[in-house]
Symmetry: C2
Subunit: 148 residues, 2 copies
């Protein structure tokens, strides 16, 4: 089973999901979704826009933003907001955290068993109803370490 096949399956699942939510699958939407699923990175809206301008020379940035919002609302995509200027977008598959390189900006997925106890402690201490949490870890990636 090659990579292509796995991506295709994911894309088809995502498209079925959208269709059931009553969202039309336009060529632009298909391409944005495909790019998000196939690229292992966590691209910005502008990176998606530039990656697809070969295939869609007339596509507007607004289309990218609009459809990322559509995908977010359908629960297919998460928006990642770090300190830097622009948001990154990540296909929702399984829950995971991110570790980010301070030197080159690379983002790597990383799994960690649930921090439920943090949430429950927060609930009891603050009186909030806790819904979710986010965590990022920062450091220097192996590639950047080597370059020193």
């Amino acid at each position: 089973m090659g990579c292509m096949t796995m991506s295709s399956a994911k894309i088809n699942a995502a498209i079925d999901n959208l269709k059931q939510a009553g969202v039309r699958i336009t060529p632009q939407r298909h391409a944005i979704l495909e790019h998000l699923i196939q690229s292992m990175s966590h691209p910005t809206a502008d990176e998606i826009y530039k990656a697809l301008e070969g295939k869609f020379p007339n596509m507007s940035v607004a289309t990218v933003y609009n459809n990322l919002r559509v995908f977010k609302e359908a629960g297919l995509v998460k928006e990642l907001t770090y300190g830097d200027s622009s948001s990154r977008f990540d296909c929702v598959t399984t829950d995971h955290y991110h570790i980010i390189c301070d030197s080159c900006g690379k983002i790597v997925d990383f799994h960690y068993p649930g921090l439920d106890e943090v949430e429950s402690l927060a609930e009891s201490v603050t009186g909030f109803d806790v819904g979710r949490h986010r965590m990022e870890i920062y450091g220097v990636c192996p590639d950047c370490k080597r370059k020193h």
Copy 2:
């Protein structure tokens, strides 16, 4: 020992810190620092700007941004970047996390014993040299719960 006294002590400590780093204490810097320390919230640059325009009618927004950067570089202030449009600024006292109300945006400090094991697991799994991490918890605050 009143609140005023504690705030004053913190401000004096911060000012000593800056002086030792060779930073001049201008009236604007004093006021921005004072506002950051005394306000229990985590204000945006614009909120600070507006809060001080009574005292400093001619102060420029650039002054607020410049000095927040100076304070950050001195290690006195942390910049908090959440999903929303503008950064918030937090006086560094002791390490803590934040819990944020999804409904009204209120930010409450909350302590939790170190998640060192997350950092070390991340190191061994990804090969990064880990330096730090951030975590935020999201939910609905008691005030907003009551209003339903």
